[in-house]
Symmetry: C2
DNA sequence: GACGTAGTATATCAAATTGATATATAGCAA
DNA sequence: TTGCTATATATCAATTTGATATACTACGTC
């Protein structure tokens, strides 16, 4: 699945600018299972506009740059539906954290601790984002299923990390400083 | 982190050919948190050879093509150690399965079921690979930690999927045909 | 015995994608 | 007034993917 289909999927929920699509995959609803950068999003939108899969509405905003709000067209919805009926490719998971963890005996203990805490922070942020979305989802919807999947997986990771502290020779929980932030 | 560092890490455990590195990230020990293709592995090895980070031992095999067994050099180990002390990038997770699940009301029920069963199969295969490695790992090692992380996350996903069958309107478990395979 | 498929092994390349950077404007803080 | 953050679009070199080519063995099957 390419970035075009991905954008089409996001636009199927609501019109959005390239910038907003980036935010959605970076921090928003789609952030825990999708990746895309500006360098692929903008060309995808330009191409789909030429192909008639999306339309633009240019909004001149006071004090802000021109905003191009893209909407999905009927042809776009058909193209999306087609893509949705192809068998999905296998999940891809890349973790530099786990790669580094493999060599834990070759790094300074203080680096290991910093990296471990960084991972914990990242996972907790993910979980917070997932839980924020949680209330606004109708049970039984695709959204609710995906949200629940993310919740299950990230929770399990956090729990495992917490249980592994001692076996990695790390000090007990650093008295939740995240409560202060 | 680039493919060069990734190869260096794998070679730090044992000498390997490009083909064997690919297998390691595809099916082996590294498969659940690393991705790399031939098109990046072979050029990486060639470049690192020129840079003196690895050395080659060419093995003429009877009845098989020439095999180039790459080993990490001292310079390579230093380069790896340096990379290991950089802060890791955030995890990246891409799931076309979850993307499709988002639009579950727009696809045929039979497609949804096929995709769901495909994901289950994939997850169960992952878990099997993880459990296979499990015994040969010394407790407290980096390997054991990473293996445990994978086990925790994949198990949670499988459990969530199983619990979600009914809410997605899918029939009960298709009487484990995997036992027959 | 020919034919297809799977496994071992290296290598290349067009196309897709990333990650960084450039441009521009507003608001807020030091 | 200098720097930082946020909004917003856009480009591009470098990296990476995914597909394909080549070549030989082995195994099944028709």
């Amino acid at each position: 699945m390419n970035v075009r289909t991905l954008c089409l999927g996001i636009l199927a929920f609501d019109e959005a600018s390239g910038y907003e699509i980036k935010k959605a995959v970076e921090d928003g609803m789609f952030s825990h299972f999708i990746e895309a950068s500006y360098g692929s999003i903008y060309p995808a939108l330009t191409q789909m506009l030429a192909d008639g899969l999306v339309s633009v509405r240019e909004q001149a905003q006071e004090g802000k740059p021109l905003k191009k709000a893209y909407s999905i067209t009927e042809a776009g919805r058909r193209a999306l539906k087609n893509s949705l009926h192809e068998l999905p490719q296998q999940d891809k998971f890349k973790s530099e954290f786990l790669f580094q963890a493999l060599f834990r005996d070759q790094v300074d203990p203080q680096h290991l601790e910093a990296v471990f805490n960084g991972q914990m922070e990242y996972l907790c942020d993910e979980l917070a984002t997932i839980e924020e979305c949680r209330q606004s989802l109708e049970p039984g919807s695709g959204h609710a299923f995906v949200n629940g999947y993310g919740h299950a997986v990230v929770s399990a990771a956090i729990q495992y990390m917490e249980e592994s502290r001692s076996s990695l020779g790390l000090p007990r929980k650093p008295i939740s400083s995240d409560a202060a932030e």
